[in-house]
Amino acid sequence: MDKESLLNAIESQFPGLISNPAEPHGMLTLEIPVNQLIPLVQFLKNDERANFVFLTDLCGVHYPSKAEKEFAVVYHLHNLEANYRLRLKVFVGRENLDVPTLSDIYSAANWMERETFDFYGINFTGHPNLTRILNMDDMTYHPMRKEYPMEDATRTDKDDRFFGRDGHEGVTFDQNKQIAKQNG
């Protein structure tokens, strides 16, 4: 399998779904709308041209400055026969964190989705048991979100500027505090 044949196979089934495939460090990365996730993954797993039988990894990412695309869920799929890896990304905003579960397609997704819920609060709809897995049940927030800095909030020497992030994707410490305040 190569990039062209895979993209053609997807195009024949889902016309116009893939607009700008990227390939950072040699891994094909596709950004897809949330409502197409389940049909596409089912196609990728069951279609003999695609044959992605293995879910390698699933995790969340938080981009606080992107309003509509604040949270990403990243999937790594692997076609073991052709040894071809594929990365899928879906984005959701803070108002609606619903992403359909993959746990009926890949059993491996079950705990990885619970972990992503625990860390970022992504609501995997249809999940059989969406509860926290690493943190304690009565925790009231999702600690991997960027608005929760690791350090004591009164410290001024651990500002994002000290990590080389002026004008970069990450938000500054003050913005962090504002977001945290808005969310109560």
Binding site: P24, H25, M27, T29, V53, F54, L55, T56, D57, C59, V61, H62, V74, H76, L80, N83, R85, R87, Y106, S107, A108, N110, W111, M112, E115, F119, R132, I133, L134, N135, M136, P143, M144, M150, E151, K158, D160, F163, G164, R165, H168, E169, G170
Partner: protein, 401 residues
């Protein structure tokens, strides 16, 4: 008509069910995690797991640490084979930055990683012995593991949480003493290891205990995201070293052993044979060890020799910048995986050009395959469940992120 009441109908005592807490602290769980079992006599009807007893927030901490300070965090994932975690992380960063390391570094890394694999498999297999009641092999194999730790100590100064290697290579070359220790190990270990194998692998009592205990089919194992020896025991020959060779694994000639039934015996035998293959890889690496430097020529990322720091301006500047975490890291996202002791250990790294990762996610094989445990032990006896857990080699540190 038989009027005497049947006490043990279908193995259950009066149809009465019991709830049994296995863990969080129990010698047979080999770590701090809990299984709440619903038992019908000795038979398990269902199991409910928890894993979060040692959450240490690596991924959150990693977002505030310069790249070279993340290596010690990876030590604590699978602490039975920390060097694989360390070197996998170094190679991930090298892939992001685009560093080519000299061939000698690749071979040195292969030796260290295969030694770590041997020590990891030794712990698992000798503990399977312990859980079947054979303590002797364990006591002998732990002495062998100490010899491997002696080698690590000679390379980096630490034994368990090694923090071995640096971005771009090793902090120092292997000394003559280290080479001597590796040679001695290669000469003497196989004898004692075969003795251990002979005690168990064709032992009738052991075989009766482990054959058919906690089986899983290849299909289910793939669906559950199994990797490593556990997947290979189920008959799927997926090994990252062969499929996506890193650190020059394509230069070595080795076999990928596979099992058939995916039961405890197959997992035991796959690990036994992998130890033999690892020994062969180490021999090949020693024979073919290329001359050259023990680190890449990347002064922006690799610390200069201390004596230069006092005499050369460039060395002083680089030293300061590396220590203060001011390395220039390009933007990008990269997924890199190595064959850890328990399977595909993956690193998903997103850099936004800052001095710390924007996001770092570890794919821990244990965390992913341990969720299959209730399915594997359903309907089996409690004693088989204990064996199944030790043969899956669930390491508590690797359940965490």
């Amino acid at each position: 008509m038989n009027t005497t009441p049947q006490i043990f109908a279908n193995d259950s005592i009066d149809g009465e069910l019991a709830t049994l807490n296995l863990g969080p602290t129990h010698p047979a769980t080999h770590g701090i995690f809990q299984n709440v079992l619903k038992m019908d006599g000795e038979r398990i009807i269902s199991a409910e797991q928890t894993v979060g007893y040692i959450h240490r927030a690596f991924e959150k901490i990693a977002e505030r640490r310069p790249y070279n300070q993340i290596t010690p965090l990876t030590d604590r994932l699978n602490y039975c084979s920390s060097p694989i975690n360390n070197l996998g992380w170094d190679m991930t960063v090298e892939k992001l930055i685009g560093i080519e390391v000299p061939k000698r570094v690749d071979y040195m890394r292969v030796i260290i990683m295969e030694l770590a694999r041997i020590s990891d498999h030794l712990v698992c297999n000798s503990v399977i012995g312990v859980d079947t009641g054979a303590l002797t092999g364990f006591t002998y194999m732990f002495q062998e593991r100490e010899l491997i730790y002696d080698i690590f100590e000679g390379v980096c100064g630490a034994r368990l949480t090694t923090n071995i290697g640096r971005i771009g290579g090793f902090e120092r070359d292997f000394s003559a003493d280290v080479f001597k220790r590796i040679q001695t190990f290669l000469k003497e270990f196989p004898k004692r290891f075969n003795e251990f194998g002979n005690l168990l692998s064709r032992n009738r009592i052991f075989m009766d205990r482990v054959i058919g205990a906690g089986p899983i089919s290849g299909d289910r194992a793939l669906n559950y995201g199994f990797t490593g020896p556990n997947l290979r025991a189920a008959g799927v020959d997926y090994d990252v070293r062969v499929m996506n060779p890193y650190s020059s694994y394509q230069d070595f000639d080795f076999l990928v052993p596979v099992g058939e039934g995916g039961d405890t015996f197959d997992r035991f035998m796959v690990r036994q044979e992998e130890i033999n293959q690892s020994l062969s890889i180490i021999r090949q690496a020693l024979d073919k060890m290329p001359a050259g430097d023990y680190h890449a020529d990347v002064p922006e990322f690799y610390l200069p020799p201390k004596k230069d720091v006092y005499q050369s301006m460039e060395a002083l500047i680089y030293h300061f910048k590396i220590i203060m975490g001011e390395m220039k890291i390009p933007e990008g996202e990269v997924y890199f995986s190595v064959e850890g002791g328990n399977g595909e250990l993956g690193y998903y790294l997103i850099s936004d050009g800052g001095r710390t990762p924007y996001r770092l996610h570890f794919r821990r094989p244990c965390f992913i395959y341990y969720q299959a445990y209730p399915e594997m032990i359903k309907g089996s006896l409690l004693s088989d469940a204990i064996l199944t857990m030790s043969s899956m080699n669930v390491i508590a540190g690797e359940l965490d992120a």
